[in-house]
Symmetry: C2
Subunit: 739 residues, 2 copies
Amino acid sequence: MVSVATAIQEGAMAYLARQLRTMMPFIALVTIGLYLLYRPIYADRPTLAVGVAVAFLLGCFASYGAGYVGMTSAVHGNVRVANAARRSYREALQIAFQAGTVSGMFTVGLGLLGATIMFMYFRENAMRVLVGFGFGGSLVAAFMRVGGGIYTKAADVGADLVGKVEVGIPEDDPRNAAVIADNVGDNVGDCAGMAADVFESYEVTLVAAIILGAATLLDPEFVARYGGPAAAGAFALKLIIYPLLVRAIGVFASLFGTWVVRGRDEEIGDPMRPINVGFWTAAVLSAAGFGLVNAFYLKDPTTGAPDFRFFFATLTGILLALVIGWLTEIYTHPDRGPVREIAYSAKTGPATLLLTGLGAGLESTVWAILAIAVTLAASFTIFSGSVALGAYGIALAGLGLLTTTGYILAEDTFGPIVDNANGIFEMSGVERGESLAGRIVARLDQVGNTTKALTKGFAIATAVVAAIALFRSFIGEARLFVRVEELVGSSAQQAGEMLSRVGIQVNLPLVFIGMLIGGAVPFLVSAFLIRAVGRSAFLVVEEVRRQFREIPGLLAGTARPDYSRCVDIVTKAAQRELMGPGIIAISVPILVGFGLGAAPLGAYLAGAILTAQLLAVFMANTGGAWDNAKKKIEDGYLGGKGSDAHKAGVIGDTVGDPLKDTAGPALNPIIKVMNLVAILIAPVVIAPISSGVRLSVVVITLALVTVAVVLSRRTTIHEEELTPPTDPAKPPRPPALVR
Amino acid sequence: MVSVATAIQEGAMAYLARQLRTMMPFIALVTIGLYLLYRPIYADRPTLAVGVAVAFLLGCFASYGAGYVGMTSAVHGNVRVANAARRSYREALQIAFQAGTVSGMFTVGLGLLGATIMFMYFRENAMRVLVGFGFGGSLVAAFMRVGGGIYTKAADVGADLVGKVEVGIPEDDPRNAAVIADNVGDNVGDCAGMAADVFESYEVTLVAAIILGAATLLDPEFVARYGGPAAAGAFALKLIIYPLLVRAIGVFASLFGTWVVRGRDEEIGDPMRPINVGFWTAAVLSAAGFGLVNAFYLKDPTTGAPDFRFFFATLTGILLALVIGWLTEIYTHPDRGPVREIAYSAKTGPATLLLTGLGAGLESTVWAILAIAVTLAASFTIFSGSVALGAYGIALAGLGLLTTTGYILAEDTFGPIVDNANGIFEMSGVERGESLAGRIVARLDQVGNTTKALTKGFAIATAVVAAIALFRSFIGEARLFVRVEELVGSSAQQAGEMLSRVGIQVNLPLVFIGMLIGGAVPFLVSAFLIRAVGRSAFLVVEEVRRQFREIPGLLAGTARPDYSRCVDIVTKAAQRELMGPGIIAISVPILVGFGLGAAPLGAYLAGAILTAQLLAVFMANTGGAWDNAKKKIEDGYLGGKGSDAHKAGVIGDTVGDPLKDTAGPALNPIIKVMNLVAILIAPVVIAPISSGVRLSVVVITLALVTVAVVLSRRTTIHEEELTPPTDPAKPPRPPALVR
């Protein structure tokens, strides 16, 4: 077991090291770029320009650190879980969950620490600097999410295509040269990217709430309502402190929740039960805590009675987390309607199974986005009458959603740990035949799939909520508002001009065009990632085939394959393939901003958030449902393993893999990166720069995007393989239909 | 041949009759509803309320008429083509294309006639009344498109699942009870809906251009630029006439184009060549005509020199039609990169074939939406400096896009005619073995697939362009603008309130929520339509199985199946299944309008247009590419028919069928219906009605939507079929993960 685990650890560390090396020049370039960009803009406040650049750097390292700790705790926890399973179920479960908790709590702690430092040092400019921090975090998260997603599926699909399909050996068979890469991939895909990604949402929602709490004082209605400047000022201070209290309560509640997760010794229970109990404990404790704080701390200064609207707004966020978990379960759990229907349709072959899955997935994303819409609407209209408090209410919903982040990240890391524990146990051959320990790790593995699916849905929702918070900053930075005082005294012509630059009016042609482009980007990125997995898997296939061909005795089991070559191939491939989507995420917002203007750029973000949310949940749930439909058939339904229905299930699972583990999850950090790029360039977009400069920016970014598209569209298929043999008996096809 | 054709004709007429019966109560209800809705609003102009209701009724019948003529010419043309093929290739091709031309020209003529009458009678209120006309047209188009789409694929999939898969008889085998329904379906799906759908876009773009031409006079800058009120007025009149001239030129150019389509007698040529020559002829002739009109008619009144910007703006539309055709070809032609790559990936099984197809489809929709975005941007910025002319420019691009509508509809109807001709020829058994006539109809059939794919991409683009034109009307009807004169004299508070209702500002929370809901609807409708096909196909499967079981001698060929039962089953199923999506298209905009307000309703439309365009092209091209990848393999590539690669290809084709022929095409008329509903209710949404009325509208529409969702989510699978046998050796699965 130690030798297998060591190979996984080495592979994981090699990946992390290479990832860092790839990102380094990028990070250095962007740091310098940010400083140069902001020096002229903040000419009067030089610390701010340095602050943004340094914050970016810190964000990069914090995000990388969160990923690093997640990976490390996972690749060291897995083997201990495998070994503990030989002693008892209780111990195996607890070690697995505790290792996950390390990663979850580290991320949350880092997030709170970063936000606090920024806030203490920069105060009212904190959001501005934090955008730099968030950009660093999101950029690294995007790299790790995208790279990890390509890595894991290239290894998985590559290993399966040769192993299962061509040679006919089982999964996790040590004779398959790609098997270690596959196990490393589980960690790379699920720990590194996820922690880095959620970390950033955690950060942004906190600071947005603080800033919107302070902004209430700018609203004359708010000041009048709460008894004049002095009393209202004291109340606003409480609104600033409240988000911090909410976060603190969330941390302790999550910690308490993880402490509750424990199994009993006498039996192999359902591991999902204690994990769910832990989550409910965390959620209920948090809600109770918020209620208490609201009751004793947030009293209406004019009446002295507690104003529970703040509690309810925060509660909508907690409810959203529960609803999203519930929806994920309905659409992906093997015993629920959709997966049962998908499995049943395998009776008439793979095509009907795939269609039923597509239908269910398309439907599921609608309910998820509606849940978000209802939460936003509720937390906003709860404060009906006050726009300032309404905005604060939306921020509170975001806080509520991310309350249990620590716990949810623990659940997420739990997934790859138990997945690997099962793999290590199998590969090491430490116990022969059916054993209790074998059943324990298999059971944990099964549940790990569910925890991973649940956290995926959560991560997507947090990305959207964080993006909405960032959206508000964008309006400020791009100055897409008009001061009423200016307006009233102005001439008709000035007023007309001002009206056209109020907000992001999608009814204006160029703004509408911005939205069309933004909505298209998630489709483009998804297409490129699906292709990237295909290309990288192809390289793995070739290498595994080569080893079976060239290493004598490998198939017989007398020789060992060269695992490290496969690890190396996917590591390099993942780094190469993430360049295309990375360039697109950074360049297209710049292109739209300088080519069309600030308001179209805002609409671009809105369009991208919309389609990214819809596509991400669609892909995650469709893939998860196909996966579990296959498992349902493997459990003996419709003939079980080896039946035609099972073959159909395997096809569905393979199609779903890159959707749910590569393209879907990559969309979260990518929309956040685009939002942050937009906010960072907004002051320059609206600055009076010459049209020459503007044009050169457009030309450069257009060239970059073209390079990314060319890179991402290349094929590994040779021309001669594509030419069908000509059959003299048949007339050739009609020539190309060029118009 | 006559007996087969008669069966198809009867099936088609039965469908049309039933469709009309289903729609009748709906149409009557909406007509009365519209009159009651508008009577109080247009209290001072009672003819307008009657006008809208009557226009709605006329729109319904015009749209139905376009569909009826298309179907009739198709189901009478098909048998004549099959017979003509026995004489010569030239004659078969010409009859097929001429029958298509009847349908195309009838639709265009009807469109021009309707618009002209509306315009002559209602003048400046024409757009208002035309919204009613358009609503009738779109509603009927949506019904016919959705019903037809479900019909065609339920029959197709149902026939194949029993025929090809279970019994092992070829396609179009007369022993299959669903074979006539399948042939009727080709007409129902491709003629009836398409003509009705494009008809409405043709109408809206013309009237929008006329109105925007007249609106230039409201712009003081325009008046000043063109030499004062008198001279500018004369010039604006020319801008009103120009769209009519453009349409006239388009009709004659299209007619000339269809006249050019002719084959040579000595050989079976590539039918696509004369069809393409015809299209290019129509496009080039139109462009030349526009240039001449621009040169001699639209002279700048201040300089006397022709202003070619109008020509260029119109040209962008023609170019868009060409680019969309070109993109469709790149992504779906069997000899182009994407389809070759998809076919090649069948080498490693159906999963890789499906993934490559998904990647290509996701990518293709990005370029299509970018083409639309670039066209809009170009036609708008060509008139840089004048907002009024910019809006007119966009309308001209829409006119240009629809210039060759007559020709394109002819191409579209050509598809089912030659498809049916091939079916009739095969089923009638009129010539045995390989014959020249057989090769002629097969070749025509193959090309018919391409012409259908090309026109599908075109129809989607026209829907988006028409929706953008309607969007502008919506802003006017919902009064989402502020008059500068009002603003300048107002108090700070009034001005602040006014600013919040300028345009559709997606940065405002409720507006953003509207966009999220709008973006979700096309996903919901697609999901429901995919399910609907599954459910309806299931009924066909049961009936075909029953006939094979109960009719003695059917499989041996000594008895004939009861075709009419299958026709009846799909006819009823299609009518039943279209209710869900129909209710959603009408109710959700009302729900959003009354629940959230006018601006969120506008954002709803924007979100729906965005995702509908992206999804529709994605589904059309993915399905088309899978279809042609299968055909490529059938041509002998990777082992040809019967190989594993071919089986993978068949799976891809079956998955793609409901995407490209049901869900994708249904999205065009549905977004148009939603746009038109929004415009129609806008005056009521902003009227000072009581919150009680508002709430009851919300409750009623919410109830309707719930009914639609419940209807569309029901399953045909029985509970006991879903319960897997319990295996005592294995522990039961962990229980449900409810949180």
